[in-house]
Structure formats: structure tokens, C-alpha cells
Symmetry: C2
Subunit: 562 residues, 2 copies
């Protein structure tokens, strides 16, 4: 046993607590993430390349849509040396103000999307600055930014670095530069340590899936082999603009409510409720006050903790309609199915959209599309394609709420075989999209969706909706196959029957032939016409083989991520 | 097609970029994590309780060990109402200075462990403040802290809250309070929304596993059913104190190296190298300079980016011995095995420790223990127990590098059956511990280890080391079983043989009995003595049934996490 008390205090009156206190200090956000870079999607060189491109393209698409501009995005990846690549992403977005450029590209936790309840790809204000930081850490080089906000202003050029100790930008003075005809837009260039591989989970696949779920965007992509692939927009219309909403009373927690009450400008509780929340008019506000046993003209700032708790209970007791869903911009079931038709050469397609739902006060919508049979492989597991706010999710399938929902579905009901706890087996591709004002990702790298029960439930229901359509097709096909076999069987025996009849009745060969024909006709008549459900791979009008093959090159063995 | 250029600039000269810029703002760290609370282990009410206790206990153990005090920790969980619990954790640690209390408990990213390269349970400076924040958000209540640093000073009492907008503490003035005989220590009390469930992944199990891997700690635990369970220390000696080390040159990246060069007080490159890195003496420093084609007396602050790149290459070219490993404090294979013997009633135990290894400049050690057969169930998958820096990891097994390594091991070599991509089947428990100065977790909640190739490789090697011992036992047992069957078979026929001999040779019954006996003796002689490998469950001296049953109550169906 150590002598404890003697350790506690020396002659100076200093204790161990004094020693330990000396080591305590602030941990910078950028320091934190630079050491924990795997949280941001920089676990390895391959993913680093992918994450960088994804963050840049997501930002470009968000900016264009917010400015109501049809996106036109150039993506180029150039091999600069061993394990060293340059990523260039250029858009025709609204451009960025001079004063904003440094913070947007070189400060973690800075952005416009975190505080607004509105669907967007980015939400955390981390992504692109993390890419700049990773490039800088691994190559020592600054990122290069070029941006222009109007034809009447010059384009500006910056070199940006991030001060990782302080999480502040370390940027050169912007220079005015020529940018030809480009009236507005932003271009970013990052050098980084990376590896380029084709196949599943490649940039090629990511860009393809992005083009499919963003049919209003044109993306011109040049890969490190200097192959240019053009994804030209197929829709000349932007998706409906999602509206920003206020929080819904059901999603607020007591601690947050306390803060809101303290920070409000409203003088009365009723005014506070109507002005700070969605779906709370004067009537509902009064009802909440009544259910809380609080006066509508009480001062929000003066409520005690107990009174705030009353208010919480009052909110729970009051029936308030679900939040509006014009904050969401789903792909639509039809477009999701259209995308599948282009990419997958199947014989049957179906899709479903669920009505909007809410988790922790956040509205969300689930959409599901399925493609079955045809040229799809019949052996092995089904393929799952996941999207969140139109962004394809290529990693961490096992950790995702979408996967959990698929595993929990009884696929046998829809005519597929499935072992316990496994994906169903068969020629099936399932695409699932979640659109939400706040997608709860399992990590900052935004690769998988957290297991919120409301979300898992909705995904399951969407799969069931769509699965029933699939099931009726698969089962019909099975019935036809069984019937076909029966008929084959009967047909096999018709010659023997006619032979026997010929012998017993001493018929001529002509009679025998007639009997055989009659028997076939009777068979057809009694058992009905058999529908032809055979698949002709050349007849798939929507299927685009070139598109489908993008991102399907060989993946080096063992390089695939979970 | 939308009219794009007209959108770009109004009559005022304001562009869309101006509008968008208005929405840009800083995102507070606490705001970020309060919305993304699932990243911190607060995905649901059950896990919230667990995470809170875990963070408090980890801190207590770290503080005691750093102050070289044998830990004595009281943990109490009280049900306060529906879905509302109070967590109380009290230690006999060194206590906390008056000025430090607010920041330690109510500021995310603040602490002593992030910047020191030394093994500890906490590392991020997030955990306990996150628990305070969660409690405050869900109950509106402040956490209560009591701390004392010496018998000569009064104990202090605080109520702490966190200002989530600004990530700063919001604390009452400390009050001097009486704390009886307690000379030093800290006590925290948090009210939070939570659910208590027994079974796997329960607090009970977490505390049990913690007690097993920390045999020097006494933990007195009272669960919500008011059952007190005492885990009394079995070792009166603290683990070896891990030493703090400097970074190793192989682990540094060019961006970080640039920052270090800029920030150094050293006047020459050689001095910089010897003073900032571990394992670099004057000789090695000179060698690095030579390999970099840089002068040893060059000024560190004045190196250009190209020269820093030269330096990087010079470091790579120079042979530098691995970092020292006295920064690590492994459990030791013997203690890991001892723990298994207490908890698992098996017939065979083995354990292995790998030599230290390095990933991204961080030293780490892998230890593995195995328990086989006996009272363990023979059906179903093996059980995997994971630890990182002596902390049991109960969640996200599927996402963990440990699991990946176990799945990638060919268990058939060790006599177990295994389907492709699955855990092996059989009566086997495997405990794996990683000790490192920086454990790369897959999320801030520290539940699973990221897939760094070096770590996966080392875990595999450790499993193989230990697996060979297991394999030789399992295979020997199998051989004995086969041999036993053969002998049974021969024995069955001995009476028939002797009968036949009796008839042919016309022997007496006595002779026949003799022959039978002789045949048995010959059998024994020629085939050797058969070792008895039968398991007697009552003879397991180390096994502690009461301990083993803790945390083994029923888990409600479907409540178990991945």
C-alpha cells in the first residue's frame, strides 16, 4: 500500500492536484480532428481522395441550388507522384464573398447550414476545411481557391492554410485574377496524399451515383487516367427549393428550452411559443400554457426550472400537428426508379415514398426503389445503395440504420431467400434515400446513419411498401414457372397417351396426330394462356450500359472497406 | 432553364453571394455535439446511463493512478422517476483545484491527456463534460461536484452547467462544505434521462469487466435495485506508471513538421531534432541531416517547404529505433488470464502478449487471453471481450478492428469450426486488450477501434500466438477422444475373442478370464496410457460464480445494441 496522505501535500502546501492542474489545457478543434482524422473520412489514402472530392462536390451542389443555379461542375483528379494527387473541383455557383473565403475553407465548424433547419448536403461546417487541413498535413501545401461573385467584379485567388493549433485561417492576401468568361463560380485545388483505385467505393462510382440522384446537374469528370466522363443533366429544372423551418415543440428538450427562454426577445410566454416554434399559432400556444398551468403572459425569462418542466409536460400533453415538410426536397420515387432503370438492367422495377415522419423534432422522408431479375446475378446477396440528402453513402454499410432495416425485413414474404441476420439472396438491387433537415450520421465523415428507432421503423415500412410490389411480381413469376413445368410435364406424356389410344382404338397415324393436337389445345384451354415473363436483355430501353459500367472496374483484393 | 445572370446582381450591386454570406457563422463545439450526441455515446437512454458512468469512472481511475493512489471508487445509480436517474461517482483521487473544476466538468475539449503521449483512459477532454451537458439538456439540472485536495483545505461544492452556445462553464460560486473524514477525492452527481437494463452491455457488466482489468481498484457499486456489489481490490500495487514520451520521427507528417519547425526554440536543426523527438540523439540527428542534404546548424524556422520535404525524406531514409514503450501500461498476459479464470468456468486457459508495435508514430501493445471448453456453451459463436487502455468496450463490436482481426483469423487451424466471414463456433471466450498512448476510436464515444492496418495485423498475430496454444490443446483433446473411441471398440470385442479362443483351445473359464485380462493389459501397453481430459466443473479453483453472474441477467429482447 502506498503512503497516500504524505503524497498529498508537500511543505510548500502544494498538492498533487496542483501538479495535475498544470497540465490541463484547451484542446483545439482542428488539433482534435487532425489527430482523429479517421472520424472525418481520412482513415486511409484511398478514402482521403474520395472524401476530399465528395466534400467539394457536395458544397458546389448546395451552393448552386441555394442560388437557384443549374449546377455545372468540373471534377479533375491528377496523379502528381507516388501517393500524391491533385483534386480540382470547379462550379458555376454564386461564388463566395472576399471576407468569407478564409473561414469557409480553413476553419472547422464554420458554415451556414448547421443553424438552419433545411435539407442540405453539408450540415456540419467541417468537410471542406478538413480536406484543406488533410492536404496541408500530408503535402505541406496550401489549397488554392479561385472565386467570382459577378461579372462586374474581378475573380479572386487565394492560397489557404489552416492554423491547426488555433483553428483559424492562415491565408494569403487575395489577388485579382482573370477568369475568362466565367461570370460566377468557385474553384478549389487541393494536393494530398492519396491512392486512386477503381471499382466499388471509387470516386467513379460516387460521381455516377451523384449524377443519377441529381439529374439536374451536369458533372464533367476527368479521372487520373485522363479519361473524361460527361454526365450531362437530363432535367432542366432544379429540385423544389427546400424551405427553412423552425424547431417543432415535440423535438425540444428541457435544457434547450431553458436556453431558448433565456435568449428570447418575446415578452410573453405565448409570444415566445408562437415566434420560436413551427406549428404553434396563438390557439395552440394558449393551449400549451393551459396544459402547463402557466399564464400566457408570463415572462419567459423568469420561469423557474420547475416551471420549465411544467411547460415541457404541457407541450407533451398538447396535440400539435407534425412539422411542415417543405423543408425537404426528396428525389421522388419516380426519379429514383428512373435512375435505377438507367443503371441496372433488370426485368422489374418498383419504388415507394413514405409520408414524412419526425425524429427528435426533425422531419424526414424515406424513399425506396427496387430492381429485380433480368441481367442481375442470381447468386449472392442483394446489392444495397444508400443515399442521404441526395449524397451516395459508399462506406460503413454495416453500421448504417438503412442496413439494419433491410436485415430486419422478412424478405421471404417477397419471394426471396434469406438466412437469419443476413441480406436476402437473389437478383435484387435496393436503393434507399433519406431526406432530412438533419441526418444523424454515426460519425463526422457522414458515411452511415445512426440507429434512431423512428428512422429504422420508417425505412422498414418503406421497404415493406415497395417489397409488396416486388413480391407480387416475384410470386407471379414463380407461379408461371411452376405452371410452365407442369405443362411441360403433361406435354411430355401426350405422345404416350396418343400412342396408347392409337393401339386401343386402332387409329391411323393421322388420327393420332389429330388427337395429339386436340390434347394440346385442351391443355391450353383448361389451364389458360401462359404469360411470357422471359427477360430479353436487349429490350431494356432505359438501361445505359456505358453508365452502368462506370465504377465497376476491378477493385484490388482486400482494398474494399466495410 | 432559369435566368442565371439576372440572379447574380441586383441594382444595389449585391449578389447572391452577399445573401448567402449573411448566414455563415461559427458553430460551437458544444452545440455541435449536443445535436450530434450519438457521436458521444448518447444515442439512446440506455447507453446514456452507461456512458455517463463510464466517463466518470474512467476519470476517477486515471486521476488516482496519476496521483499514485490505490483507487477506491463508489458508484451509485438511483431511479428518480420514469426514465430519470441519478448517477453518483465518488473517488479517493487527488481532488481538483478550485480554478479547474468548472472547465473540467463543463467545457468540451479541455483536459490534460490530449497533449501528452502517455497511456490513459481519457484522451479527448470531452467525456465528462458531455455527460454534464446531456444531463442538463434532458433534465434541466446542473451537475453537482464536491472535491477536496487535502485535509488542510476545505472541501468545495459546485453546481455546474455548460453554456452550450459558447462551450464555456456556467458555474455557481464554490461553497466550502464539510466532507467528514474524506481527506481528498472528487464526487460527481448527475441527473439524466436514462433507462436501466441488466444483461449484456449493462452497467453491471461494465463495472465487473473494469474490476477484472483493474485488479488494483476497489469499486463499490450500488445498482438501481439498491443491490450493493463490492469489487474489492485483489492487488495492493498500482500498475507501473506509464511515462510520457515525445513523438517519434516516423509518425510525423510534413504539415505537422512545418508547424513544429516554426514553433521551436531550438536554434539549429540538429538541436531541434534531438529536443523535439524521441529516439533521436546527436548521432541520429546528424544522420538525418545528412540524409536530407541539410546542414545540422541550419535555422529550423527558415526552412522552405521544399527543404522540409527533404527533411521528411531524410527521416524516412534514416534507421531510427522504435519508440520506447514505457509510455504503456499493459494489463500483462498473466493478469488477463487470471481475470478470465475468475469469470469463465473453462477447462483450458492461455494468453499471449505481443512485443510493442507502432502505428502513425504511436506505440501500442496487444494482449490476448483465451478460455476454452468446460462449462462454456458448445453451440453458437465464441464470445469476444474487448478492452482499450483497460476500459471494456461493450458497443459497436461489428465496427471494431478487434472484430475484423478475429474474423480474419483461420480458426480451423486451432480446431474450431468457422463459416466464411463469421466468428468461429465453439466453447471459446477471447479477451483482447490494446494499450496505446493514443487509441484511434471510430467515434468520440470510444466504443470501437478504427481499422488501422498496423493494429489489425498485430491483433491477428497475437491471436495466432495464443491460438497455437489453444490449438494444441483442442487437437490433443480430439486425438484422445478418437483414441478413446477406438479403445472402446477393441474392448467391446475382447470377450468375443476370448470366447472363440476358449472354444478352439478348450480352455477353462479361469483361463478365459486370464486371457481377457491379458488382452486388456496388452491393449493398454501397446496403445499407451490415455490421459484424462475430462472436465470437472467443481474443480475450477479460480472460478468465481457470483462474479461471473453479474451482468448476466436477462436483456430485454431487441434492446441489445450492435
Amino acid at each position: 500500500m502506498e503512503k497516500q496522505s504524505s503524497l498529498m501535500e508537500g511543505q510548500t502546501g502544494k498538492t498533487i492536484a496542483h501538479d495535475l492542474a498544470k497540465k490541463q489545457r484547451d484542446i483545439g478543434v482542428a488539433e482534435f480532428f487532425s489527430r482523429n482524422r479517421h472520424l472525418l473520412g481520412f482513415d486511409n489514402k484511398r478514402k482521403a481522395l474520395m472524401t476530399t472530392i465528395k466534400e467539394a462536390v457536395d458544397n458546389s451542389l448546395d451552393a448552386c441550388e441555394e442560388a437557384r443555379i443549374l449546377p455545372e461542375i468540373f471534377v479533375e483528379v491528377i496523379e502528381m507522384g507516388e501517393d500524391r494527387y491533385r483534386v480540382i473541383v470547379e462550379d458555376n455557383g454564386p461564388g463566395i464573398l472576399k471576407s468569407e473565403v478564409p473561414k469557409i475553407f480553413a476553419k472547422l465548424l464554420y458554415g451556414s447550414k448547421f443553424h438552419s433547419m433545411k435539407q442540405s448536403r453539408g450540415q456540419q461546417g467541417i468537410g471542406i476545411s478538413a480536406s484543406v487541413m488533410y492536404g496541408q498535413l500530408t503535402t505541406g501545401r496550401a489549397a488554392k481557391i479561385r472565386t467570382r461573385i459577378s461579372k462586374n467584379k474581378a475573380a479572386l485567388f487565394y492560397k489557404v492554410k489552416i492554423n491547426t493549433k488555433k483553428n483559424i485561417p492562415d491565408t494569403t492576401e487575395p489577388q485579382e485574377v482573370d477568369w475568362g468568361d466565367k461570370e460566377h463560380g468557385t474553384k478549389i485545388e487541393i494536393d494530398l496524399e492519396a491512392t486512386y483505385l477503381g471499382g466499388n467505393q471509387s470516386i467513379d462510382e460516387y460521381i455516377k451515383e451523384t449524377a443519377i440522384t441529381n439529374p439536374h446537374a451536369t458533372i464533367i469528370y476527368t479521372n487520373p487516367k485522363a479519361q473524361q466522363i460527361d454526365f450531362i443533366r437530363v432535367v432542366d429544372k432544379l429540385p423544389v427549393e427546400p424551405k427553412e423551418i423552425k424547431p417543432h415543440p415535440y423535438g425540444v428538450e428541457i435544457g434547450a428550452l431553458q436556453d431558448m427562454l433565456k435568449g428570447t426577445d418575446s415578452r410573453t410566454l405565448q409570444a415566445f411559443l408562437t415566434s420560436e416554434f413551427t406549428r404553434v399559432g396563438a390557439g395552440t400556444a394558449k393551449l400549451i400554457c393551459e396544459n402547463s398551468a402557466l399564464l400566457p403572459n408570463a415572462s419567459p425569462k423568469r420561469l423557474s426550472r420547475e416551471q420549465v418542466e411544467q411547460l415541457m409536460n404541457g407541450i407533451k400533453k398538447t396535440k400539435i400537428i407534425n412539422p411542415p415538410t417543405d423543408c425537404l426536397s426528396p428525389i421522388t420515387a419516380a426519379d429514383l426508379e428512373k435512375g435505377l432503370r438507367k443503371e441496372v438492367n433488370a426485368e422489374f422495377y418498383c419504388s415507394s415514398t413514405r409520408p414524412p415522419s419526425v425524429y427528435r423534432g426533425n422531419p424526414f422522408i424515406i424513399e425506396v426503389g427496387m430492381a429485380y431479375g433480368g441481367a442481375l446475378e442470381t447468386d449472392g446477396s442483394m446489392k444495397l445503395i444508400r443515399f442521404a440528402n441526395r449524397v451516395p453513402l459508399l462506406f460503413q454499410q454495416g453500421a448504417c440504420a438503412v442496413t439494419k432495416s433491410v436485415l430486419a425485413t422478412a424478405w421471404r414474404n417477397y419471394g426471396l431467400s434469406q438466412s437469419k441476420g443476413a441480406l436476402p439472396t437473389g437478383p435484387l438491387v435496393v436503393a434507399i434515400h433519406i431526406a432530412s433537415v438533419w441526418v444523424p450520421f454515426t460519425s463526422e465523415s457522414k458515411e452511415a446513419i445512426a440507429h434512431y428507432p423512428e428512422i429504422i421503423k420508417e425505412i422498414k415500412l418503406a421497404i415493406q411498401d415497395c417489397g409488396r410490389k416486388l413480391g407480387s411480381y416475384v410470386n407471379k413469376k414463380k407461379r408461371i414457372q411452376v405452371e410452365g413445368k407442369k405443362r411441360d410435364y403433361i406435354t411430355t406424356y401426350i405422345p404416350f397417351v396418343s400412342d396408347a389410344l392409337k393401339e386401343i382404338l386402332e387409329l391411323t397415324d393421322d388420327d393420332k396426330a389429330k388427337i395429339e393436337e386436340n390434347l394440346s389445345v385442351i391443355l391450353e384451354k383448361t389451364r389458360g394462356k401462359l404469360e411470357d415473363m422471359k427477360f430479353d436483355p436487349t429490350k431494356s430501353e432505359d438501361y445505359d450500359e456505358n453508365l452502368a459500367n462506370i465504377g465497376k472496374g476491378e477493385t484490388e483484393d482486400g482494398k474494399e472497406e466495410e
